[in-house]
């Protein structure tokens, strides 16, 4: 474990280390993979193979094997002696090389092998600049992960979160592993509830810069933003429709906290539901047909589902007196939310077909769960030692990670979508 941690710290250069990652658990059945340092990769610090290894281990599905120096060093062009790699206990093998091109750019080639089936699974050659090492390594991780698990990897995705330092709030965007953090918005008033547009180009969020909650949409590439909802009263809890054209929001303009639909340009507001309760935290199902939301219409806050066109809501959570912040998984089959157990707030996962509930975390002040786009991990905010930190837990509860900054509270995480 110490060695793993050391590896992660090594592979995140200090200049970019806004968030550092610590793994506090591991999957039960991890694929042992031999990741041979790419020949020539020292010219491209911090080293592609170490980033790939960190990615794969962080997923909880892989265990990077410790390798002795191997001579001659194998590359993607080497003919592989599978029996030899089996005897090193590898089920999978990744080899590659880096070469500088005459134009000063670099070429990275790699090949992944299934050692058990004794066959190559494919490889790619990438041309890159020196500042694209991490992005390229994450692409390689995505390739390896998909070849060996059959699912898409999330190593090239990004996350958004809010850092509070003193009385300053920053909405930051970082790689999924916390590297390359950039500040999209800095404010002296709170920022909450960031949500990614389905195309990953925009964020909707709630800013209190006008001394009240107002919903904005912020385009990341050019930093432009516009008000979506600034009606009399409070405007909060934005949620994108899957097509990215409209949002569900919570407005108090007609009294109480109630669900409305609004176009992304702020036009066409219309009421979605009507109750005398607090209705908030809407989220669309992936097919856009249903909305999950929090409501205390039954006396305690619970999660309900209703048709996206309105209609009678059905209660979804029944165990416990406080179930909030519904987040539907990308496949629509499970629901993550925050439940209160005694005085602990923890992430729960509800299987919507079997109705089974599993508590995924052992922390006690969890908030704002957010599924990775492949549904395998859930990012959340929690508090450790009086400081807000981000944490990630696998959807089976086995792998846990913590992301924290040196200074400041981190909260309100939102995992971005796959980017093509």
């Amino acid at each position: 474990m110490t060695r793993l941690l050391a590896l992660f710290l090594l592979c995140i250069p200090a200049a970019h280390a806004q968030l550092s990652i610590e793994i506090t658990g591991a999957g039960a059945q991890r694929i042992p993979i031999a990741i041979v340092p790419f020949v020539g990769e020292k010219t491209l610090p911090p080293g592609i193979s170490s980033i790939v290894r960190a990615d794969l281990e962080r997923s909880g599905f892989f265990r990077g094997l410790e390798l002795p120096p191997i001579a001659p060093e194998p590359t993607e062009a080497t003919s592989i002696n599978y029996a030899e790699w089996r005897s090193r206990l590898a089920d999978a093998l990744l080899v590659g090389s880096v070469q500088q091109r005459p134009d000063g750019r670099f070429e990275v080639r790699f090949r992944v092998h299934d050692v058990v089936k004794q066959q190559p699974l494919g490889g790619i050659a990438y041309t890159l600049n020196k500042d694209q090492v991490r992005a390229t390594a994450h692409r390689i991780s995505d390739f390896v992960y998909e070849k060996l698990t059959g699912e898409k990897g999330v190593f090239s995705t990004r996350i958004a979160y809010v850092v509070k330092r003193g009385n300053r709030y920053e909405l930051q965007i970082a790689d999924y592993d916390g590297a390359n953090a950039e500040t999209a918005l800095a404010s002296f008033e709170p920022i909450i509830s960031p949500v990614w547009s389905p195309d990953g180009k925009r964020l909707a969020y709630v800013s209190f810069e006008n001394k009240k909650p107002v919903v904005y949409i912020h385009t990341l590439a050019d930093g432009r933003r516009h008000v979506v909802a600034n009606f009399k009263g409070s405007n909060s809890a934005p949620a994108w429709t899957p097509d990215g054209n409209r949002l569900a929001v919570v407005l108090s303009r007609e009294g109480g906290s109630q669900l409305f639909m609004i176009n992304a340009d702020g036009s066409g507001v219309r009421r979605l539901a009507s109750s005398s309760a607090i209705d908030t935290e809407p989220r669309f199902s992936p097919d856009g047909q249903s909305i999950y939301f929090t409501s205390d219409r039954g006396g305690t806050p619970q999660i309900y589902r209703m048709s996206a066109t309105g209609g009678e809501p059905q209660r979804v959570t029944f165990e416990g007196s406080y179930n909030v912040s519904p987040r539907i998984s990308p496949d629509g089959k499970t629901l993550a939310y925050i439940t209160r157990n005694d005085s602990k707030f923890q992430v729960a996962l509800l299987d919507l077909s079997t109705r089974q509930v599993q508590i995924l975390t052992d922390s006690d002040r969890d908030e704002s769960p957010s599924f990775s786009p492949n549904g395998r991990m859930i990012l959340l905010a929690t508090v450790i030692g009086e400081r807000g930190v981000l944490s990630a837990v696998s959807a089976d509860g086995r792998v846990k990670q913590r992301l924290s900054t040196a200074a400041g509270d981190v909260r309100e995480p939102a995992w971005g979508p796959f980017i093509e």
């Binding site: 009240k212 009294g255 607090i278 929090t294 209160r340």
Partner: protein
């Protein structure tokens, strides 16, 4: 150049100016223009009025520690939204003020303690701000004078994690325009 003389009207005095050294007359203030006054007039600097003196601006009472109107906070019990009897005189005083000063505008910011979901806490704070707004309007303040909003758990008055602290955070703050 001859100065223009202005008479400050209580109803039209911009609230924002109460807090500043120099007060400028509001647009509707009845003014007496001396013959020959130039178009580009200069306003006479006006000293802040002294509370309690005849003709003083009623808005000064909002800042007067001796006036109940300088008190702006209503506290709530855990998971409760009803205005407790002990805060009735305070809300009544502000209702009377809003009634007597139709130009006055108020923002009520409702707050919740830190426990639980941030967005649900926005809902709880909203319920609290609307509870005070409702009482104010039942007591004669006009709906248009008041905006009830919520800051959820985002602006705690007290930062510790204890019931004593949480009790200070379950509150409504009443602000008049110019104060936020």
């Amino acid at each position: 150049m001859r100065a223009m003389f202005c008479v400050l009207s209580a109803a039209s005095l911009a609230l924002a100016s109460c807090a500043t050294e120099e007060q400028k007359p509001a647009a509707q203030a009845p003014v007496e223009t001396k013959p020959g006054a130039p178009q580009a007039v200069q306003t006479q600097p006006v000293k802040p009025v002294t509370p309690g003196k005849p003709g003083a601006s009623p808005f000064a009472a909002l800042k007067d520690p001796g006036s109940i109107l300088s008190k702006r906070t209503v506290y709530f019990d855990f998971d409760k939204f009803d205005v407790k009897p002990e805060y009735r005189p305070l809300v009544e005083a502000h209702a009377k003020f809003l009634r007597e000063n139709p130009s006055a505008k108020m923002l009520i910011q409702g707050n919740a303690d830190e426990r639980g979901s941030r967005e649900y806490n926005v809902g709880l704070g909203q319920r609290r701000s609307e509870a005070v707004k409702k009482m104010l309007t039942l007591l004669g303040a006009r709906e248009e004078q008041i905006e009830a909003v919520s800051l959820g758990e985002e602006k705690p008055a007290c930062a510790e994690h204890s019931e004593e602290c949480w009790a200070k955070n379950r509150r409504d703050d009443m602000l008049y325009s110019g104060e936020y």
